[in-house]
Structure formats: structure tokens, C-alpha cells
Amino acid sequence: MAFEIEYTNIGGISGPLIFVQGVRGVGLGEIVEIRDGSTLRVGQTLEVDEDKAVVQVFEGTSGLALEGMRVAFVGSALEVPVDRAMLGRVFDGLGRPIDGFPQVISELRMNVNGLPVNPWSREYPRDFIQTGISAIDGMNTLIRGQKLPIFSGSGMPHNLIAAQIARQAMILTEEEEFTVIFAAMGVKFDVARFFIDSLEESGVLTHSAIFLSLADAPSIERLITPRVALTLAEHLAFEEGMHVLVILTDMTNYCESLRELSSSRGEIPSRKGYPGYLYSDLASIYERAGRLKGYNGSITQMPMLSMPSDDISHPVPDLTGYITEGQIVLERELFNKGIYPPIAGLPSLSRLMKDGIGEGRTRGDHAQVAAQLFASYAKVKRIRSLAAIVGEEELSQLDKVYLSFGENFEEHFLAQGEHENRTIEQTLEIGWKMLSLLPQEELYRICREDIQRYYMSEENLECRI
């Protein structure tokens, strides 16, 4: 960059976009520096023509005028420094330090967009992560390298759960390095503060990197924040061999920024005004989780998103669910009952669970216990809706047994303390206690041997209703 041409001929400003005219030799996705007086903003080209370019400005365009703005195209796509030394630090949404300490010095700079992983080079994730939360470990097991979002609604404790997972999942690993990268998009300051405090409390803040694009930051900046965080995660996982847990919150805010950008570009919207490429755009973030052949490290992603009015068919949770490997869904009804964590029994799912559990990983009976709990709890839900109409009195004896199973399952299996860390054995033991409330014929998803071994065990016999 011996010398840069600065352009001053600005054709227009619209939302986060500026239209620069008379430009020559500018490439797609090139980084742009916009100077207005003494302030410097960074942007990127979205569309280039023979003599004009459309630039999105990450810091937003507020205060910019058509005159007096100088625009320089500095080549190459957006790159950020990546280094181990970034752990223990706090950055803004574009990866610049905001904790008062100097810029991280690193020779390595990486393109924030990354490159698509060759499916052939992926290693199928199989290693169980014990989160200490029964509803997750027992029924929706988290696997190292998985992308498992939490679908929440306003007011529900998704942050508490994420913090609990971050704390408890890290304790288990002794020989391997574990780190948390936290990226906040458009969340309130107190949410960010809560995470920082929570990580500090458990002593893992020094192994964590935090990227904050808070609610008052320009919305366009949020489009870069998760990419900056994942670029660092990729470096730590696949160059430094660490196990990285990336928490992205709140993806709904991210999608709203994308919608804002799309609408100011005048694109044809699809559902609820979101752009037609929302799926591909989200995939370019979520698919950066995983494991690679020949590398020790892993990236586990836990994106959080709030479902507007608890609607799971809203485009953001919907498209997320199509990309991620399952979802943890929080349920308003359980939350109102005072059950923590209010993880919905039925719509929650972990797709990688089947290969990460069982003999030698968790326990031989795990898969069947989980399947039976799901099936039985589904029946509870059916009976409850029946009871709501005909009244509990009218139910058959068996149905009443199911209702009691349902209550116990929610109070003893799903519910647990915010600082309670259960081993997988404890979780399965509780699971068997719950199943023991049901008559033996009802356990049709479980093989005879396991029934003999666990259902017939003395302590479980006492549980029969």
C-alpha cells in the first residue's frame, strides 16, 4: 500500500451503504477506509461496477455527508490478527481491544470469512461433553465439535444455562486445553457483564476471549462480530490444538442486521422481510464448527437466539434448526412452573447424540433410556391435554400413573440447581428412577437385559407407584 487513491465522489448514502463513483479497479469484498474529518470507519464492497462501487460501512453511516468524505480501497478482504495472546482480552465487534490494553501484536492475520471446509476433511464428532445438566447430558447430549443452539424467548434464562455449560463443561478437561470465546451481538450491557462476571468467578476468564458489539453499537458491525470470533476460534482449535466453545448471542439480532442491510440494498425479500440468502449466510457461520482430520482441536458452537413471541417457526430459529445439529428449546410453560433449566422435553434434540453415547462413551443403556424417556414424556403430554378437557378424575389408572411420572420427571430429572453439576451416571440413575414409576410393559423401547439390570434393581423397585 505504497499509495492509495482516495475518492471523494460519493453518489449517495442509504442506510449502512454508500455509493462511490468514478472508481477504478476495485474488487468484490475489498476493504474500504472511510475518513470523515479525523474519524476512520471501515467498510467492504458489496457490488462493483466499471465505475462505481457499493460499500457497506460496518460502523454505520450516521454523521456522514456526501461532501467531505474520503474513501480509499485498501485491497484484500477483511483480515484480523489472531493469536493466543488474545485470550483474556475484551474486544469490540470488529476485533479491536476495548479493555484499555494495547492492540495485540501478531504476524498472523486471517480473512474473517474463512474458507469452506472440505467435507472430506471433516472428522465426525463423537466425543461426549459432560455439561452436568441432566436434560442435556441425558436426552440431548452435547458433542465436541457440535453446533447446538439454544432457542429461547424473552425473559427466559438462556444466559444462565449457557454460563452454567461454559463453567461445568470446562472442569472435566484436565490434560487438554479448553477455551471459551464469547461473541455478543446487539445484547444489552448487563448481559455481557453477566457473562464476564460468570467466567471470572469460575476462573476461566483468563482463557477466554470476548467480542462485544453491544446494543448501542452500529447494527452493521454485528455482521462481522461472529466471523471475527470464529476466525480466532479456528486458529486456536486447528493451529493451537485447543477445544474451543464459542457462544454466540443473540443470533436474532444478527439476522435483523442482515435484514436491514438487505433492505437498504433493495433486495427482494423472502419470509418476514429477511433476505432469500439468510440460510446460506447463517450456514457460513454455523458450519465453521466441527473437527478436522489430523487436528486435535475442536470448535463447539452454542449460538443463542430469542424466538420472537416464542414462535419456533419464525425464520431465524427455523433456518437455524435446519443447519445446526439439533437444538435446545426453552419452554415457557416449564419456566412459569419455576423449573430451571426449562429445557423442553420434546422439541429439543441433539443429532450427534447417537454416535457419542453408549458403551465406552457414556453407558450402554443411555440410548434406550433416552428414547424411552422421550416416548413416555410424549405420552404424558397427550394425557395432560386430555385431562385438561375431561378432568383428571376421568382418566384411567394407567394414565394417572403417567401423570405422576410426568410431574416427577420435570421436578427431579429436568430441574436442577444452577450450580449443580451431575455426572452422567447420576443423570442415568435419576432417569431409571423415573422409569421405575411406570409398569414394566410400558418400557417397550428398552431391551430385556437392561430392564433386568436396572429396572429390577432393589432401589428402583421401591419407586413403583
Partner: protein, 590 residues
């Protein structure tokens, strides 16, 4: 091949590039764009401007960059070595890419789709001097233990075979035979190109009449598909589309599987890649990978290549069909393909139809599914392609355009049900919303096995339909308020769901269920229904039946009796009959 066309980029908008100076270029020709020579395809010609969609990440591309085209349409290379391979959407070998540039896919990488150095043991099947035409088989290769690969004279070539090599090892670049055609001499090799968007010619299309046996009970018995048929699997996220596709790819009795991962998760393809080499096909004792070709264009790979990936896959399927093989194409998911169409059409500024999808969505879907079918090939024998497409409707709402249009062009509809999936009842194919139009086409095949097949199937479906109707009442008044006979119907319906329809694809025995076993299981349940109903009508308490240990054992038959020991189901049935007989005596005694 009219020589190289050189043009210049004038604007870049995402993957859509406008170029000028492309005189002579035709629609759907390949263009190489920019200094990295990214692969693209000409999709629109407007005056002097050619619109090119680029199949790779084109960040950094500038106006003024060069565009080259050889005037050749986007094609796939067809020849020995496709089996067991994994390609991206434009047929670049992913293994080769990994060897060359590591875990990530670099831009502009070009590799031959087939191994050009490998020597294949060729057995010539024609003699020089013979009259050959398109479709004549001139040789064959054993491509894998399972697949015999025929070398066929390509479309448009006919004349006298002037030479053919001796048996021996040859590469795909060696000239194998020469033909003296009207247009001059033609040099035939083992591999050749075919444009992906054009269906390969056949002699005649026929009506499908043999079922594709999948080993999945709800499909084979309730909603069967014929070889050469089309099916859609629509379902919201988490309902098990991919799991169902995997189960079909593993156990259906096609000769070859083309698995297209179109805009889906990377780890799902990895799952197939790690599982298939280790899974042994019971029918022939060989690993499943030896009959599988994979196309992986995952969701984070470039969108335009996703659009073309299903054509790449189906063209490969047609190539094997033309040798007389039975091929099943799994497209997961056609919604991602439709979204790729939408994304590209929106960048082109097309006027959108429903939900932003282009108006030509339905036409494109129809064209794709129409490439399925049972045909008489140019080379003589029959071959077939079955297409099974997953559909991912937003919010699980089947009224959206892709599901709606797809249902017009497929004849099998396996609707996945969220409620079943939530209860972990897999496969979560709904017995209420699904349908098949192949029932009568394949009836004769099943009747050879058992003349009562259709009766048994319909009886079971009717119990489930009755159950569905009664459940509405149960929701209002509770099951106990119903007459006992209806309560018994509910009980048997539950038994059909748990002992027959629910199938565990990870269980060593249950994962594949032979047609014989399917039929016997269902007949056993219907025996319980018929005989039990008589007893219940005569006044026997339902509990006297349902609480019999033998009756509650029924749910375990599917996972405890292997396909080869179905006589044990007969034995169970006899025992059941005796037990019900004894109940009758009990009833009379009272």
C-alpha cells in the same frame, strides 16, 4: 470448440458477473473468470452482455478482469472410477482437493474428476469390422466387485468399428476403439463428457412395476415406491429427513446409489463417508461404499454450485442407468436447491413469484423429477432411476411453494410428522398424510409373495384411519368413555404403531426388515385384531387380552427375530391363536 472466446468483466454482484466481448458464447457454456480462472456458467445473454454465475467464492474479482470460454457447456466427466468417489457440485473430487490444499477448499482449484492414470482391466466385447451405433456395448470393466461398467458407443456416433484394443489394462485417456462415421473417423475412449442440463437419450420410457425394496416397513408395506419412481420426503427440521434418506441409501435394493448432499450439513456427509465403507450389505457381503457415488455441496460451499449439484448427480445416475443398472438418487435437500435458484434469480432482478421464488421453479422441479423412470436403454437392457428428494419446508408448513410444486411431480409423498419425531417415533412418516400412487403398479410383485398382500395392507391402514378418527373423540371424552370394541381398535392401532411402523435404524436386526418378515409381522397383528375383536364383542374384558404376557411380547418381535428366521413369527402366531382360543373357553366357561 470454435476456439477461445475472450471477454472482460464489467460488474460483479455476489456470484453474478457481467461480462462483455463474449461474442459467440452460448447459453450454459462454461466460462473461466478472473485471474484465478474461477469456473462459471453463462446463464443469460443480453445484447453485448453475458451474465455468468460463478461457482466459487469470487471475492476480489474486479471489473476489467478477463473471462475465457471454450464454448463448451457445463459437463460432467463420465467413465470408470465414479463409484466410491465424492465430488463437489461441479464434479471436482473432494479427496483430490484435500490432498492438494488441505482441510479447506481453495479458490480456482482444478482437478480431473476421474483418475487419469489408473489402469482398468478392459474386456472388449466387439470385433473390428462390426457395424456399431449409439448404444452398442464395445467392452466392459469390473469397476467394483458389484458394478460391471460397460463401455458404450456414445450418442450420435454410428458406423463401422475400424479397430478395438485387445483385453488388458487401459487408462481413461487411451483410445480404445475407432469408428468410421459419416462425419469422419471417431476415437472412442472409456470416458467422455456429457452436459449436465440435458437428459441422456433412451430408447423408450416404460411404466415402473417392480418395487424398490427398502427394508423400511412403513415404506415397503404402506407407501411403496417403484423402481424408476419418484418420491418426496417433506419435513420440518428435526423430523428425520436425512436419517430416512440415509436408511434408504443403506438398505434399498438399487444397484447404485447417488447421494447428493445439496446445501446441507458438512457433518452429515462426513457421517456417510465414515459409515458407508464400514457397513456391509447383507445381500452381497460388500461394503456399501462400493455402490455409492457422493455429491457434497454443503451449505457453506458456494451457492451456485449447489444449484448445479443435483444435475451433476442425476447425470451420473443416467450414465449408469444406460448400462442397465438400477440407480437410486437421494437428493437432500431439494429446498436448498430451490433457494439457490431464488438467490440467483433475485440477483438477476427477476420478478419473483410466490415467497420470492422465481416463476420457473415449478418447471425446473418438473424437469428434474422427469429424469427418473424405468427405461429401455439404447444398449438394450432395461435400466431405471428412482429419485427420492427431501424437502425442507420453512416452519414445517407444507403449503409453501417448494413442497406444493414437488407434490405435483412426484408420485410418492412421505410426509414427516413433527409429533411423531418429538416422541422419537422413527421413521416419522405420517400414515395419515402420506400417499403413494404405485400401489397398483407393483401389486403383482407382492402378490407373488403372498396373494393377500393388498388386503392385509389395507386392513392395517383402515385400523389406523379409524384410530385417527377415534382419537378426536378421545380428546373430548377420554378413551374410557368409548365402547369396548373401539377401545380395542385403539389398542391394536397402538400395536401397529409400536410393533410395526416404528423401526430402529441403528438396531442390528431391526434396521432392515425383509418383505417376508414385514408381511408376517403385520399378519400377526391383524390376527390379534380379528380374533381379539370377536372375544371383545362377546363380552371379554380387554385387559384379559392385553395383559397376556404373550400379547405384550408382540412389540419385541421386530427386534428379536432376524430376517432369516421368520418361521419364529409363524410359531409365535400359532401360540397367539392358541392363547386366544383358550380365552374363548374362559369366556364360555363363565
Amino acid at each position: 470448440m470454435e476456439g477461445l472466446i475472450r471477454g472482460k468483466v464489467v460488474s460483479v454482484n455476489g456470484p453474478i458477473v457481467k461480462a462483455v466481448g463474449m461474442k459467440g458464447v452460448r447459453m450454459f457454456d462454461i466460462a473461466e473468470v478472473g485471474p484465478d480462472r474461477l469456473i462459471g456458467e453463462v446463464i443469460r445473454l443480453l445484447g453485448k452482455i453475458a451474465l455468468i454465475q460463478v461457482y466459487e467464492d469470487n471475492t476480489g474479482l474486479k471489473p476489467g478482469d478477463e473471462v475465457l470460454s471454450e464454448g463448451r457447456p457445463l459437463s460432467v466427466l463420465l467413465g470408470p472410477g465414479l463409484i466410491s468417489s465424492i465430488y463437489d457440485g461441479i464434479q471436482r473430487p473432494l479427496v483430490g482437493i484435500a490432498e492438494k490444499c488441505g482441510s479447506y477448499i481453495d479458490k480456482g482449484i482444478k482437478l480431473s474428476a476421474l483418475d487419469t492414470e489408473k489402469r482398468w482391466e478392459l474386456k472388449p466385447l466387439a470385433e473390428s469390422g462390426a457395424q456399431v451405433r449409439e448404444g452398442t456395448v464395445v467392452g466392459e470393466i469390473q469397476e467394483s466387485q458389484l458394478i460391471t461398467h460397460k463401455i458404450i458407443v456414445p450418442h450420435g456416433i454410428s458406423g463401422v468399428l475400424t479397430s478395438i484394443v485387445e483385453a488388458g489394462g487401459y487408462t481413461i485417456e487411451d483410445v480404445i476403439y475407432t469408428v468410421d462415421t459419416a462425419a469422419g473417423p471417431y476415437e472412442g475412449k472409456m470416458a467422455g463428457y456429457w452436459p449436465v442440463r440435458s437428459p441422456r437419450p433412451v430408447k423408450v420410457k416404460k411404466n415402473p412395476h417392480i418395487p424398490l425394496v427398502t427394508g423400511q416397513r412403513i415404506i415397503d408395506t404402506f407407501f411403496p415406491i417403484a423402481r424408476g419412481g419418484t418420491a418426496a420426503i417433506p419435513g420440518g427440521f428435526g423430523t428425520g429427513k436425512t436419517m430416512t434418506q440415509h436408511a434408504l441409501a443403506k438398505w434399498c435394493n438399487a444397484d447404485i446409489i447417488v447421494y447428493i448432499g445439496c446445501g446441507e450439513r458438512g457433518n452429515e456427509m462426513t457421517d456417510v463417508l465414515t459409515e458407508f465403507p464400514n457397513l456391509i450389505d447383507e445381500r452381497n457381503g460388500r461394503p456399501l461404499i462400493e455402490r455409492t457415488v457422493m455429491i457434497a455441496n454443503t451449505s457453506n460451499m458456494p451457492v451456485p454450485a449447489r444449484e448445479v449439484s443435483i444435475y451433476t448427480g442425476v447425470t451420473i445416475a443416467e450414465y449408469y442407468r444406460d448400462m442397465g443398472h438400477s440407480v437410486a438418487v437421494m437428493a437432500d435437500s431439494t429446498s436448498r436447491w430451490a433457494e439457490a435458484l431464488r438467490e440467483l434469480s433475485s440477483r438477476l432482478g427477476d420478478m419473483p413469484a410466490e415467497e420470492g421464488f422465481p416463476p420457473y421453479l415449478a418447471t425446473r422441479l418438473a424437469e428434474f423429477y422427469e429424469r427418473a423412470g424405468l427405461v429401455e436403454t439404447l444398449s438394450g437392457p432395461d435400466g431405471d432411476i428412482t429419485i427420492i428428494g427431501a424437502v425442507s419446508p420453512p416452519g414445517g408448513d407444507f403449503s409453501e411453494p417448494v413442497t406444493q410444486h414437488t407434490s405435483r411431480f412426484v408420485r410418492c409423498f412421505w410426509a414427516l410428522d413433527k409429533i411423531l419425531a418429538d416422541a422419537r417415533h422413527y421413521p416419522s412418516i405420517s400414515w395419515i398424510d402420506s400417499y403413494t400412487e404405485y400401489l397398483h403398479d407393483i401389486e403383482d410383485w407382492w402378490k407373488d409373495l403372498d396373494s393377500q398382500w393388498l388386503t392385509v395392507r389395507n386392513a392395517a391402514i383402515n385400523i389406523l384411519l379409524e384410530d385417527n378418527r377415534l382419537q378426536q373423540l378421545v380428546k373430548l371424552v377420554g378413551a374410557d368413555a368409548l365402547p369396548v370394541t373401539q377401545q380395542f381398535t385403539l389398542y391394536v392401532a397402538e400395536m401397529i404403531k409400536n410393533a410395526f411402523l416404528q423401526q430402529n435404524s441403528f438396531d442390528a436386526i431391526d434396521k432392515y426388515c425383509s418383505p417376508e418378515k414385514q408381511l408376517k409381522l403385520l399378519k400377526t397383528i391383524l390376527t390379534l385384531y380379528e380374533k381379539g375383536m370377536i372375544l371383545v364383542q362377546a363380552g371379554l374384558d380387554i385387559k384379559d387380552i392385553t395383559e397376556r404376557p404373550l400379547v405384550s411380547e408382540m412389540v419385541r418381535l421386530k427386534s428379536e427375530i432376524p430376517n432369516k428366521e421368520t418361521e419364529r413369527i409363524d410359531a409365535y402366531s400359532e401360540g397367539l391363536l392358541k392363547e386366544l382360543e383358550s380365552l374363548k373357553e374362559l369366556l364360555l366357561g363363565v
